[in-house]
């Protein structure tokens, strides 16, 4: 399992950010910062992703979209809120169409504040998230082992799977 945390795949969604944080997320992938050398890949498919990077704040229109993406991701996964908008609503907190940070819709594991966030901070956030992902994986593995022992996965075991 730990092999996966060495090459985590990321999905990025722009909730209602001003773009400032989005382009910094993208900048992380490009030659100067180049997180791909660590095996971190940006994917467009929620079902392939381990880390969900959200920029911007929540509003009525995108609430469901964020939830949909999150629900489609395999568990365990981690969520990173990038930018002060994703943390709390930031400068737009008092706008009529801003409900607040991403934490209102889905559980967030790491918040990266800043307006706009610097790529170094984003990478730092991802590294923190990897630690959390590792813990979650361990817990998840222990949990499913317990499940197997109590016979919940007995059929799968019989077929040679686990």
């Amino acid at each position: 399992m730990s092999g996966l945390t060495k090459s985590p795949w990321i999905i990025h969604y722009d909730a209602s950010s001003c773009n400032g944080c989005d382009i910094e997320v993208l900048a992380c992938l490009t030659p100067l910062y180049d997180v791909e050398r660590f095996g971190i890949l940006n994917t467009g498919n929620p079902k392939h992703a381990d880390i969900f990077v959200v920029t911007g704040s929540v509003n009525e229109q995108n609430r469901q979209v964020i939830k949909n993406i999150y629900d489609q991701m395999p568990k365990p996964n981690v969520v990173i809120g990038v930018g002060i908008c994703a943390c709390s609503g930031g400068v737009f907190k008092e706008c009529y169409n801003v409900a607040g940070g991403v934490g209102q819709v889905i559980p967030v594991d790491v918040y990266v504040p800043g307006c706009s966030v610097r790529p170094e901070q984003i990478i730092d956030g991802v590294v923190k998230a990897l630690g959390i992902l590792e813990e979650k994986r361990a817990a998840f593995a222990a949990e499913s082992k317990k499940g197997t022992d109590t016979g919940a996965n007995a059929d799968a075991k019989k077929d040679g799977g686990n």
């Binding site: 722009d14 950010s17 400032g20 382009i23 490009t30 467009g44 737009f92 008092e94 706009s116």
Partner: protein, 359 residues
């Protein structure tokens, strides 16, 4: 005849960094109609003028969009300055011009990269963004921020650039000139770029005019619409001509932006050579009273800031018409009759900035 099917595109889609949703009505592979629906990033920030005083609102105006951030603050400040009849010092005007052109460079390089990515040309994407980092470094060294700068304020600018630094900046631009040229050369001549973009996403000059296209979309369809020619900031004293292409397709729009890179470098050099000494701000006394339409040329085209004030510290109304909202009707027109596989390229060819368009 094949039956019609509707394919949803977005809001979360691999080629789009930003959420826009299109319902594509298809007949086999051909797009018959595209119906956009927006609102995923609407924040309602125009109404914040009631809670922030007119000087603080510059921060909000800057965060309408993280790519055109500087030009948004210029547009807003220009409106307030016109209402209050403030004479912004020449040096500040030149500095604004320099930073505006740096924004254009960074925005166009960003776009050229994303466009290459939409065509599946990954190497070109990385190269464009690599060059862009040099521009962002210069931004950061002079303003303190990479994408959100916070240097423009009502009455002038917050920071000065020393003459030595200006020399260093132009030298740096000279040194990356060759790289920019190489990059543009790929966009101009490469067979795969041409294959994906020549004759794709046609928008005739009449349609562009009728549907109100602005910026490189209009320029790519043969309309010489460039607000910098009105001479705001220091553009009046610099020598340049709008870049116009007449191919009316994605390729032309791409060429316009690639050629504007060289133009921006040239404008920065002219401005750096002619910048006068002096103050960088004037004192702002009192509150604005009156109304003004301020028009500036952003990387994506004409942006309007309308400000109405009644003499109190909160202005009454701020209305922003951004280039991306103006370019959505032309986009719908371009998509009619195209192939499904060309949709990402065509959508990107207007350089959509949804953060701007919905505010």
């Amino acid at each position: 005849m094949a039956g019609r099917i509707v394919v949803p595109f977005g809001p979360q889609h691999p080629v789009l960094p930003e959420p826009i949703h299109l319902d594509l009505v298809l007949e086999d592979e051909r797009v018959v109609e595209a119906i956009p629906s927006i609102g995923y990033v609407h924040r309602g920030l125009e109404k914040l003028v009631e809670k922030r005083d007119f000087k603080d609102f510059v921060y909000i105006a800057e965060r309408i969009c993280g790519i055109c951030s500087f030009t948004h603050s210029v547009g807003y400040c220009k409106a307030i300055e016109a209402i209050m009849d403030l004479q912004v010092p020449e040096r500040a005007q030149y500095l604004r011009t320099i930073w505006s052109e740096y924004s254009r460079l960074h925005s166009h390089l960003l776009w050229l990269g994303l466009y290459a990515d939409a065509m599946g040309f990954e190497n070109l994407f990385m190269n464009a963004w690599r060059i862009r980092e040099t521009i962002l470094d210069a931004m950061e060294e002079t303003t303190g921020g990479r994408v959100i700068q916070g240097v423009c304020k009502v009455g002038g600018v917050r920071r000065d650039i020393s003459d030595a630094k200006l020399k260093e900046m132009t030298a740096k631009l000279d040194s990356i000139g060759g790289e920019i040229e190489d990059l543009c050369h790929v966009f101009f001549d490469d067979a795969s770029v041409k294959h994906r973009s020549v004759g794709v996403g046609m928008l005739s000059k009449e349609d562009a005019h009728k549907l109100g296209a602005v910026g490189p979309v209009a320029k790519g369809s043969g309309i010489a619409l460039d607000l910098r020619q009105t001479g705001y900031s220091a553009y009046g004293s610099l020598d340049f001509k709008p870049i116009v292409e007449t191919g009316c397709d994605c390729y032309s729009r791409c060429i316009v932006r690639a050629k504007e890179l060289a133009q921006s470098v040239d404008l920065i050099k002219q401005a750096a050579a002619n910048i006068p000494a002096g103050d960088i701000e004037v004192k702002v006394k009192g509150n604005p009273d009156g109304e003004y339409f301020s028009r500036v040329e952003q990387p994506r085209g004409e942006c309007i800031h309308y400000v109405k004030a009644n003499g109190s510290k909160n202005i009454l109304r701020e209305r922003v018409r951004t280039p991306s909202s103006a370019n959505i009707p032309p986009l719908v027109k371009m998509l009619e009759g195209c192939q499904m596989a060309d949709v990402p390229v065509i959508v990107l060819s207007i350089d959509p900035c949804i953060g701007c368009a919905e505010r």
